[in-house]
């Protein structure tokens, strides 16, 4: 039974990370209607950047991590301006192909620059694991849970109370109207990519610290799909809930599998089964907006 709780707690923590990545995915989708298949590569690039700063430059974590975030912020803006801005107004399928292309290019570039083998982060915390109610949990996971909650609260505040968040919501709702109110749609797009890249990097570094940095990190980006679609593509809260569900689900599935079923690899597959089941019942996800057409 301890194993079950252990997995449950792990699931919640990993789920929170999924939620964070899902939120940054939803952010881009909401602002610009772009389905970003390169979300997982944001994690990868963030993690490698931080790893490189920590190992090659021997920077302490408290310095290397913020530099990584600043780099990702600039990276997001540049990516949007150079690659995606020219695609504004093009058919959505072309834009999606571009993001798939980006994902392949980044994967290859990272392998070329840092090699194909997983590389461990230098130890950051004095104790690798800590004791939470009698359960052994990775310290970095506990810290990341804190950071995740902070990011989520930040997102909530940003969209609900800040003027820029309001402007972003307005842009997501109707670009023409937003422009007529003096909102620069280009700036909003660039900002959404910047925030998205930055927040994804936080998750990337966290997972990298636990599992080591390798191209497997970008698999996170694929795991985010069930989370996002579960919650509804355009709902920030949905993304968080979806992330938590997927995180818990894969761990519970893993538990069931290892105890009784022995089918193997349920950890990876289970979320997708549930995804299919949920989409059959609620095609717009749990929190998504239904397109109602009035005649």
């Amino acid at each position: 039974m301890t194993l079950f709780f252990q997995l449950l707690v792990n699931g919640l923590i990993v789920g929170a990370l999924y939620g964070v990545v899902a939120m940054s995915f939803v952010l881009i989708y909401k602002a610009s209607r772009i389905v970003n298949f390169a979300q997982g590569e944001f994690l990868l690039i963030g993690a490698w950047t931080c790893w490189w700063l920590l190992t090659s430059w021997q920077l302490p974590f408290w310095l290397g991590f913020p530099i990584t975030l600043v780099f990702m912020l600039i990276f997001g803006v540049v990516l949007q301006v150079v690659v995606l801005r020219p695609m504004i107004g093009e058919p959505i399928i072309s834009v999606i192909m571009v993001t798939i292309g980006l994902s392949i290019v980044f994967q290859a570039a990272m392998k070329w620059m840092f090699g194909v083998f997983a590389k461990p982060f230098p130890p950051i915390f004095a104790h690798a694991t800590m004791d939470v109610f009698g359960l052994q949990v990775q310290t970095v996971y506990v810290v990341s849970l804190g950071i995740s909650i902070l990011i989520m609260a930040g997102f909530g505040w940003f969209f609900k109370y800040s003027r820029l968040g309001l402007a972003m919501r307005a842009t997501a709702f109707d670009q023409q109207v937003a422009q007529s109110l003096g909102i620069s749609v280009r700036q909003m797009f660039a900002m959404s990519w910047a925030i998205s890249a930055m927040v994804s990097a936080v998750a990337g570094v966290t997972v990298g610290v636990v599992n080591g940095v390798s191209s497997a990190l970008s698999f996170f980006g694929i795991k985010v799909f069930p989370a996002v679609i579960l919650g509804g593509l355009d709902s920030v809260i949905g993304a968080v809930v979806g992330g938590l569900i997927v995180g818990v689900l894969e761990n519970v599935a893993h538990y069931l599998d290892s105890q009784w079923l022995n089918w193997g690899n349920m950890y990876e597959i289970a979320p997708f089964y549930v995804l299919i089941a949920i989409l059959m019942v609620k095609p717009y996800g749990l929190f998504g907006t239904k397109d109602i057409e009035r005649v």
Binding site: R163, L164, L166, F173, V177, A178, G182, I183
Partner: protein, 296 residues
């Protein structure tokens, strides 16, 4: 192209509805020079030139498909004229984006309601304040230190004044999408006013309203013009209201300007009568009798 009589030689002050702020001698706030707009093979606007004076209530009328909304979109920047130039406050704004023009002082409402349906009325109006906020993303995140908080409070006060002016206090916290049509139109107007524009474009502000709502809206528009001193450009189909409150009227037909002047002049213009009644009489000299014939 536009051979209609123009009112300029008579001056403005002589007309009855022209108020104190319109009487000042014609400082042009907006000017269109030879604007052409083509969409592929469709000529939406042909060589339209006109000027809007500061403090004026200027209406654009015309039959359906005459190019009124296209003209307004050329003013707001949503369309860029294929040919010709537009000037705002003496500055060439032809190539400027809509958001840039909005920050220069051109506000607008839309023909089809374009409120942010999921947001509250207050949030909708606050979006209109966006370009007036000095704090950006980075300084805004240091909310308490950079005066972002003080700035927001000041904005809230002005927004409350706009809410009072349009009498929508009771729905302040309501979700915009749940309001009645007339109220939503008012909230949309409030949002456009929140921009503090010098020139406000109203695309059919009274479409689909009942008589009472129309009267209210007409009153708000006149107040907006006279008390707030905003220059108003309005597209409207209700001739009664247009002729009642406008200082000057421009008439478009098939993308061409056929008349411009004070309401009574425009009403008396034979070309305008023909455009509206759609009658095709070869006798141009006596349109009035033709109209009478038509009516009888």
């Amino acid at each position: 192209m536009s051979g209609a009589p123009v009112a300029s030689h008579r001056g403005h002050a002589s007309s009855a509805p022209a108020s104190k702020n319109a009487s000042s001698t014609a400082e042009t706030i907006f000017e269109a020079r030879g604007v052409n707009l083509r969409f592929g093979g469709v000529q939406a606007l042909t060589d339209v030139s006109f000027g809007i004076r500061k403090g004026e209530l200027f209406s654009i009328i015309g039959p359906n498909g005459a190019g009124k909304t296209s003209m307004v979109n050329c003013i707001s920047g949503r369309y860029k004229p294929t040919d010709g130039k537009v000037y705002f406050k003496g500055r060439d704004v032809t190539g400027m984006t809509p958001n840039h023009r909005a920050s220069l002082g051109i506000g607008r409402t839309f023909q089809n309601l374009a409120l942010f349906g999921h947001m509250t009325v207050l949030d909708n109006i606050m979006v209109g304040r966006h370009h007036l906020l000095k704090n950006n993303f980075l300084t805004g995140s240091l909310y308490w230190l950079t005066g972002a908080r003080k700035e927001e409070l000041a904005h809230r006060r002005e927004v409350e004044e706009i809410i009072d002016f349009l009498e929508i206090q009771h729905v302040r916290k309501a979700t915009a999408g749940t309001l009645s049509y007339g109220l939503r139109k008012r909230v949309e107007l409030a949002r456009a006013i929140a921009l503090k524009p010098d020139l406000i474009l109203l695309d059919e502000p009274m479409a689909g309203m009942n008589l009472e709502e129309k009267e209210d809206m007409a009153r708000y528009i006149v107040d907006l013009n006279e008390e707030f001193g905003m220059t108003v450009v309005m597209i409207e189909h209700d001739m009664g209201v247009v002729m009642d409150i406008s200082h000057r009227v421009m008439v478009l037909e098939f993308g061409k300007k056929i008349a411009e002047g004070m309401p009574e002049e425009v009403l008396a213009n034979p070309r305008v009568r023909r455009a509206y009644l759609g009658e095709d009489d070869e006798d141009e000299a006596a349109p009035a009798t033709a109209v009478r014939k038509e009516v009888a």
